[in-house]
Amino acid sequence: MSQSSDWLLEAKQSIEADIRGMMRLQRPPSDEQILSTLNAMAEMFQVEVPEAIGLELYMAALRTLPHPAFVRARDVLVLQHKWPRLPYPADFIEHGDEMKERLRAKERKLRYQRNTIIRALKILRSRTF
């Protein structure tokens, strides 16, 4: 019985580490990353970046994406953006949304697994005492 409990505890710790990793992955890109990306894209498409509050909104909208999703959207847009303007936040979100959902789904799955293990541990403890 104790062996099962130990195994479950190890699994729970491993899953919690994965959850923390997933949460780290879902951090938004930093301001520097967003600005450097926008600057590079503006240079690439020969356009201007928005000014003042426009740029703030741009950055705030892009911060809704996790960093990997932002990177994925940036790569796709560099390859596929066809218009002589800076890609809109919606363009980024469109291309990064799938990655964002995948990360969230992975995190949900890990949390479900952790909750299952916690329930199993509770059951084991209740039977022991």
């Binding site: 938004p28 301001d31 600057n39 240079e43 970046v49 911060r63």
Partner: protein
């Protein structure tokens, strides 16, 4: 009309017939001292030549030293036939006239000998005699090079400019364009002055649209970074959320977008 001037004009050895015709026409208008002021229109009418040919002929005559031209802004052109001194003295012997001033109201009216005799001695006109002014524009020659005077000027005025390369560029440019200039030295000096500006502005004469856009982008991004550093945009863990942007807070209310 001075007979001696016409005789003198006939005696001149001029290879260009049109120039000789113009000289004869001028001599026909000249007074005893060789001064005349016919308008170009009148010369055209009298000779049957075109205006351009008249100008060219006068330039030729000026170049040959047969005619000198005086020009003053707003006044008629005055020509002085270079009559020999003896013929002038001969004509002066019977009259006391030295110079007849040009008419101010009707430049085409020929001065009759009667008028000449009625006019008294007039002081030397204050008209400034222009150096051979009808300089023609010419294309640059392939072997044109800056003179020592020009190079010395460039060394003083634009020490940073590579005059060898700029001279080569100058000749190539005007050969390719096929443009003509009256004074290539002056054009070269202008070229060097412009080159000075190019050298000082880092190679580009004017900022391009790309340069301006790049500068604007950099300024905007720097401003955004400065705003972030100064904390005007609130955030947690280096993260500003949509609801933290004032405008969006108005739009979305208290709803958590992210």
């Amino acid at each position: 009309m001075a007979i001696n001037a016409i005789e003198w004009a006939f005696e001149q050895n001029i290879s260009i017939p049109s120039a000789k015709l113009v000289l004869l026409s001028l001599a026909d208008h000249a007074n005893a001292t060789g001064y005349c002021w016919p308008s170009v229109a009148r010369l055209v009418k009298r000779t049957g030549l075109s205006r351009a040919t008249i100008f060219r002929s006068i330039e030729t005559l000026t170049g040959l030293g047969l005619v000198s031209q005086a020009y003053e802004q707003g006044k008629v052109n005055r020509y002085n036939l270079m009559l020999p001194v003896s013929s002038c003295n001969q004509s002066h012997s019977d009259t006391s006239i030295t110079v007849i001033p040009p008419p101010s109201h009707d430049e085409t009216t020929p001065v009759s000998p009667c008028d000449q005799t009625r006019l008294m001695v007039i002081p030397e006109p204050s008209v400034t005699v222009k150096e051979p002014s009808m300089k023609r524009a010419r294309a640059i020659s392939a072997d044109w090079c800056a003179s020592d005077t020009l190079l010395a000027w460039a060394k003083e005025r634009a020490p940073n400019v590579d005059t060898t390369i700029e001279s080569e560029k100058f000749v190539n440019y005007y050969q390719s364009k096929g443009e003509s200039r009256k004074d290539w030295d002056a054009s070269w000096r202008n070229w060097i002055i412009r080159a000075t500006r190019d050298y000082t502005s880092g190679g580009s004469r004017f900022p391009t649209r790309s340069d301006e856009r790049r500068t604007r982008n950099s300024e905007r991004i720097d401003a955004a970074m400065a705003r972030r550093d100064s904390g005007s945009v609130q955030g947690h863990d280096n993260v500003t959320r949509l609801r933290d942007v004032p405008v969006l807070r108005l739009v979305v209310g208290s709803q958590a977008i992210d």
